[in-house]
Amino acid sequence: MPLRTLRLGVTLLAVVVALALPFTLSNFRLFQFTQVFIYAISLLGLNILTGYNGQISLGHGAFYAVGAYTTAIMLDKWNVPYGWTIPVAGLLCLVAGFLFGIPALRLEGLYLALATFALALAVPQILKYFENWTGGSQGIVLSKPTAPWGLRVNPDQWLYFLTLAVLLLLFVLATNLLAGRTGRAIVAIRDNPIAAQAMGVNTALYKSLTFGVSAGYVGVAGALSALAVAYVAPDAFNVFLSITFLTGIVIGGLASIWGAIFGALFIQFIPNWAQDIAKAAPWAIYGIFLIGFMYAMPRGIAGAIRLLTARAWRPRAEPSGAAPGSPR
């Protein structure tokens, strides 16, 4: 299968490039790419829920915050080695997401979006309320982790590698999850819940589980962001963050693993470019980018690439280029 070989080749090439970056880029750029990876993890998490399972969430910033604060509190209050805080943050968010997913079962589409939006609105205030733990609006200042085992890399490089490793692990897990039975069930629920149920899929359980897994991914990303920024505060997790995530998955490509990377690159770099282009109206420029992208690539960047490669490989295929199992 030449297409598959190509995909493997591109993936390997991307990994090699990612491994080489720390030795060619400045620490500041590395920090930016670390943030791209962190965003990519959350976008992948949100994409599992929204892209594959069809549940729209405007509140994933809340799980990001829970992940970040889990790490911050564990480091600040109990001096837990930071490595342990990442899986704990992920698990905690997985459980929280699963529990939130149960009442969310009753809500469909836009109603769910609104319910999750409430979550995003509430979280900054809840964080301020538990001041003894969260430090209130002052937040918690952390120390940047340094490389273990006497590795000769600086903290920025170490964080980059750590985030990259977590990203790769979570990408492989997501690929496996979505490629198998579970993945088919998740997509089937999105495409036709009644048919899925008739086929014996426990829709309630799968929907809640998907919510949990999705929140868990975002929680891990939040934990990594707390380490990278070395500070958490309620102002970092406002409503805009959740909207940014949704923007990221739509731009990157719904129901696409790779879309998460493209979306992350977009939400990290486009606002900065917009600011460089026009100081006076960066958000207007950002808006133009957004509209331009959506107009040129209605299925996101990943969708466009899929379409192009499909055309190149099978020039006489149907113009839609849609392969079985691809998103709507």
């Binding site: 720390p22 030795f23 400045s26 620490n27 500041f28 750029r29 920090f31 930016q32 943030q35 205030q125 301020k128 209130g136 609006s137 002052q138 937040g139 200042v141 590795l151 000769r152 890399v153 600086n154 490089q157 962001s225 920024v229 070395a230 500070y231 958490v232 505060a233 309620p234 102002d235 970092a236 406002n238 805009f240 963050l241 600011q275 960066p282 958000w283």
Partner: protein, 404 residues
């Protein structure tokens, strides 16, 4: 194994090369013709109203450059949007320090955003001057020698009111309304500290809070009135200050009303609340309130208006933020001038630490900027003022936090 060894050596070599780069350059952020000054401001997001401060500072440096710059060098002011979020502030400040290589950071705005970069800038030894926040922690030269505050902090102001109350209303029954965040709590702490523990317990009869997202604070005002308080310490931002003044007036509650400096604007608070209802309010000032008619013919005010018209015509003339940014930019320009030809980071910090009795045109007469190696709080003086239905009439002596 061998490749890893080579990679490690390569990493080390690059690391060393990167570490020595700044040493190779003469002075970071400075050439024969320009000085790079970095800034972050919330041009978007929930606090974007403050963004005008970042813009007016840019306009002021443009004026400085038009007039020949500082000792022949133009100020290259680079200001990025941090949307008032800590992660973005970290990213943008790292960009300023590591990529743009600014000589100093100046007036980075916001308490959470500055907290996020506090450690970093001190590790990098970048002057982090005149930060735009009222928190107390910026004056800590022992642990954070590169960071310096600017305005009087909220706790100081709270203590000023406490002293005045103790002196003039020893039997006061105090009711407090404050915003439920670090800004409100700082004021509250200042008042408590100033009264002393025993007095605070005895005199404060009720404390009410509100959330910045609340639609109204009417019920809090009614509660405060019913508590029998005869002194009202009003720690609210302009929107709620208007409501509080109006409501207290409407329900016939006439306490001695202390209004925090944050909401002392005639244009945005007292006029909307009603000048009659505002009569008798007491506040603490360190700047000229630009919408106060008593400064109409003041030279400092008129110069500022002329500057605004020429360099920042889209900026509002009733926004105190524009006077604030103008004033702090004047202080920064002075620091750069004092540096002479030595614009190393060490010297910029040293000069910022050696401001002695500096008076600026929009500070209240008598208020002086003072700094030293052990004093990183430039403005520590304030004066009480009472609203007489038309203007803020200052009274009493200047309060100086540095002397107490």
């Amino acid at each position: 194994m061998r490749t890893r060894g080579i990679l490690c050596v390569l990493a080390l070599a690059l690391g060393v090369a990167a570490a020595t780069l700044p040493l190779a350059a003469e002075t970071i952020g400075v050439t024969a013709t320009e000085i790079k000054i970095g800034n972050t401001n919330p041009y978007s997001g929930p606090a974007s109203a403050y963004g005008t401060i970042g813009k007016v500072i840019g306009a002021y440096f443009k004026k400085v450059n038009d007039e020949g710059g500082v000792n022949g060098r133009k100020v290259n002011y680079i200001s990025y949007d941090d949307a008032y979020t800590p992660p973005k502030a970290v990213e943008m400040v790292r960009k300023l320090v590591e990529q743009d290589q600014v000589a100093a950071l100046f007036q980075t705005l916001g308490t959470p955003t500055n907290t996020a970069i506090h450690k970093y800038v001190n590790q990098q030894k970048v002057p982090h001057l005149f930060v735009a926040t009222g928190a107390t922690k910026w004056n800590d030269p022992q642990h954070f020698p590169w960071t310096m505050g600017w305005q009087p902090n909220y706790q100081t102001e709270g203590r000023i009111y406490a002293q005045y109350i103790l002196k003039n209303f020893p039997d006061a029954k105090i009711g407090i309304l404050y915003q439920n965040d670090d800004y409100g709590k700082d004021y509250r702490k200042g008042l408590h500290d100033g009264l002393g523990e025993a007095n605070a317990k005895k005199m404060i009869v009720m404390e009410q809070t509100y959330e910045v997202t609340d639609p109204t604070i009417d019920s809090q005002i009614v509660n405060l009135k019913n508590s029998g308080a005869n002194v009202f310490f009003n720690v609210t931002i302009p929107k709620f200050a208007v409501q509080a003044i109006k409501k207290a007036h409407d329900i016939g509650w006439k306490p001695t009303h202390f209004l925090n400096n944050v909401s002392s604007s005639l244009a945005t608070v007292l006029k909307p609340a009603g000048l009659e209802a505002s009569r008798g309010l007491i506040t603490a000032l360190y700047m000229k309130e630009i919408t106060d008619p008593q400064w109409k013919n003041d030279k400092g005010y008129q110069d500022w208006v002329a500057f605004m018209k020429k360099y920042y015509s889209e900026g509002a003339l009733d926004d105190q933020g524009n006077a604030f940014g103008y004033t702090v930019a004047q202080a920064m320009t002075l620091v750069l001038k004092q540096c002479g030809n030595d614009l190393s980071r060490e010297n910029i910090l040293r000069q910022a630490e050696s401001l002695k009795n500096v008076e600026l045109p929009l500070l209240l007469p008598g208020i002086k900027v003072n700094t030293s190696q052990t004093d990183h709080a430039p403005i520590e003086q304030e004066q009480l003022a009472k609203f007489d239905g038309e203007r803020w009439a200052t009274f009493g002596e200047l309060y100086d936090a540095a002397k107490k």
